[in-house]
């Protein structure tokens, strides 16, 4: 018999809602975890592995571990041997960053309010941690307030604040370095060998990321250039750097560089490590950007040229914005890798997060506390890496990557 429903005509105004699926808890379990015998088996095996791993870990972390080693040395982990009476300078840098970030958030991501609020709550939560000093508590609150002020300003006058924001972003770097390094006679110089812990890790990562990014773009453009020397140099540079491990580059920077330079010139250890990281990251960045550039259809170049735009204008207004937008996921992935790779500077003797960990473990009263210490720094690395990857996913959604 013919099914009449099939032939039913829907009038144009009539819109049907999609069918919804509703499950009970048991129904959901059945559908997702135990639908066939091999799914059931997989579920059970996975659950058992989780149990076997988590139970002793949690038992150890909560009952046996002596977290005192972390609490007592918290300042070392955070800033290394940076003088205690100068730490306010780092806080000022952080507050300025919070202000800038709040402003940028209001202008560039006005719709992403909820994530912003969520982030601020986390920072407020940091102020409530049991083992930090009162000074840190106050500063975390100031940090959140600074972010809110920036956000408020940006929301109040988004157009007028665009230019100040740009200046702030450009000036932030020099200000950061001046604050942390110091400038006589206003701020006491703090030598770089006193920089350490998370502070050093962050500085290496942030400087590495921000400087290697434009450098990488230039190299990528250089590689596509029609000028043989520019192209040759770019290709040579990229391929050489990509062919050696970062540790080698760091050793080169630390040990070999002095051989080539006249003895009067002494470059700071931290600066050398930074240079090594930047040069290394730029080559990878260049390859990522090149991937983005090649994915732009030829018609985009042609349309821009046909309108009379110069080669530079075509790149700047048409090609790069699209290319960079398309490679955001890859670039963030590289940023995360770079952030973690900075731990290699411990090998050449810098006291970054990992380097500090080994000095802490050498303290007589804390010998044998490797688990606590390494778990703690692993957690720090994870928090920052995950935050970056989460932020990038949100950014992709906000920019509509993949749905051009």
């Amino acid at each position: 018999m013919m099914n009449r429903e099939v032939n039913k005509q829907y009038s144009s105004g009539e819109v049907l809602a999609p069918p919804t699926e509703r499950y009970t808890v048991l129904g959901w379990l059945k559908k997702n975890l135990f639908s066939t015998w091999y799914y059931t088996l997989l579920t059970l095996v996975t659950l058992y592995v989780l149990y076997a791993v988590l139970k002793p870990t949690l038992f150890w972390a909560l009952k046996q571990a002596e977290w005192e080693v972390v609490v007592v040395n918290l300042r070392l982990f955070m800033v290394g041997q940076y003088p205690a009476d100068q730490i306010f300078r780092i806080w000022i840098a952080l507050h300025l960053l919070a202000f800038t970030a709040g402003l940028a958030w209001a202008i560039w991501l006005p719709k992403a309010r909820r994530i912003g609020a969520f982030l601020l709550l986390i920072f407020l939560g940091l102020a409530a941690l049991p083992f930090i000093s009162g000074f840190s508590r106050i500063n975390w609150v100031i940090f959140v307030v600074a972010a809110l002020i920036g956000w408020g300003l940006g929301t109040w006058k988004p157009k007028a604040m665009r230019r100040p924001l740009m200046w702030l972003l450009l000036a932030y770097f020099p200000i950061l370095i001046l604050l942390i390094l110091g400038i006589e006679p206003i701020l006491k110089i703090v030598k770089t060998n006193l920089w350490g812990g998370l502070l050093l890790t962050m500085l290496l990562a942030v400087v590495g990321i921000t400087v290697s990014f434009p450098l990488g773009i230039l190299l990528a453009l250089g590689r596509q250039s029609k000028l043989p020397i520019v192209k040759g140099f770019s290709v040579l540079y990229i391929e050489i750097i990509r062919g050696v491990p970062l540790v080698t580059v760091l050793f080169m920077a630390q040990l070999m560089l002095p051989l080539f330079l006249p003895p009067q010139i002494k470059i700071d250890n931290v600066l050398r490590a930074m240079a090594g990281i930047i040069l290394f990251a730029a080559a990878y960045m260049a390859e990522n950007v090149r991937g983005g550039l090649q994915a732009i259809p030829k018609g985009q170049h042609e349309a821009a040229w046909a309108l009379g735009l110069s080669g530079f204008q075509t790149m700047y207004y048409i090609i790069l914005p699209q290319a960079l937008r398309n490679v955001i996921p890859v670039i963030v992935g590289q940023f995360i890798a770079l952030f973690k790779d900075t731990s290699l500077v411990a090998i050449v003797g810098l006291l970054d997060l990992l380097g500090i960990a080994s000095t802490v473990l050498a303290q007589p009263e804390f010998i044998g506390h490797q688990r606590e210490v390494y778990l703690f720094i692993a957690l720090i690395y994870w928090v920052f890496s995950y935050a970056m990857s989460y932020a990038s996913r949100r950014l992709e959604v906000a920019l509509g990557v993949g749905e051009r």
């Binding site: 018609g299 985009q300 046909a306 207004y317 699209q322 937008r325």
Partner: protein, 275 residues
């Protein structure tokens, strides 16, 4: 004598280039001299001889339709006029400026010629308004307000005044192509090049684009159009050129081409596309 010389061109490049600048401009304005002159243009892709001695003169205000089988070099030829393609032999003179390797000349000519592509080639990361105003602001150095005013007028002219803030991806193919036409017109070009502007469109959208092109032709714009839309050709073309295997096989008014084609290849091709 080669087949290419079927088409007789009266002006030589020397006639045009030997005139002093001002007289040259006046002569082009007066339609005594062609605004586009192609003289014995040859092009090779590797060993493949794509253009084999193209001669063409186009006077100000003329509408030229170029048609022919695929691979005949018609798109390649129209793209040599604003130097999206290089050519290896011959001369092309656009608006009195000789197309040479000189980058400044190329940019000058590109400012005076607008181009519309088969695949629209709108900039997907910019709004319709930004697509249209980008070149006027950065190449012609107009203030933003003026560029936007012109853009709105053009959008009204192509029949989509209310889409300025959308992104190209939110528009239909026909609307996108009309934005592309508005974008090219925003530079106030003297010559418009159309490279198969309706070939990538769904059938129901072809007419809306052709209507805009017909209006443009009637307003006196100089147009070179690569197309197989014979209705368009019949309605507004001053002359038609039939390309085959890198040569101009036949040229004439639409009347001559449709009612009395001289060459067998033209007859065959027309019988294939006019069904």
């Amino acid at each position: 004598m080669s087949e290419a010389s079927v088409v007789q061109v009266k002006t030589t490049p020397e006639d045009l280039l030997n005139l002093p600048e001002e007289k040259r401009r006046a002569a082009i304005e007066q339609k005594e001299m062609p605004i586009v002159l192609a003289h014995e243009v040859h092009k090779w892709y590797g060993n493949f001889h794509v253009l084999r001695g193209i001669n063409m003169e186009v006077f100000k205000g003329e509408v030229i339709v170029i048609f022919g089988p695929s691979g005949s070099g018609k798109s390649t030829f129209i793209r040599t006029i604003n130097r999206l393609e290089e050519y290896q032999k011959g001369k092309i003179i656009v608006d009195g400026i000789e197309l040479s390797r000189d980058v400044r000349n190329i940019e000058k000519i590109r400012m005076e010629t607008g181009m519309v592509f088969q695949q629209f080639n709108l900039f997907p990361h910019l709004t319709v308004m930004q697509n249209i105003t980008l070149a006027p602001i950065h190449v012609r150095k107009w203030p933003k307000a003026k560029a936007e005013e012109v853009a709105l007028q053009l959008l009204a002219r192509v029949g989509i005044p209310d889409q300025a803030d959308k992104y190209p991806g939110q528009l239909s193919g026909g609307q996108q192509q009309r934005v592309a036409i508005a974008r090219a017109l925003a530079m106030q070009p003297k010559i418009m090049l159309f490279d198969e502007p309706t070939s990538a469109l769904d059938p129901e959208m072809i007419k809306e684009v052709l209507d805009v092109m017909i209006e443009l032709a009637e307003s006196g714009m100089t147009m070179l159009v690569v197309t197989h839309e014979m209705g368009f050709a019949r309605a507004v073309a001053d002359r038609m050129y039939f390309f085959d295997q890198g040569q101009i096989v036949e040229s004439g008014t639409p009347e001559e081409i449709f009612t009395n084609p001289k060459e067998d290849r033209t007859k065959l091709f027309l019988s294939q596309i006019l069904h």
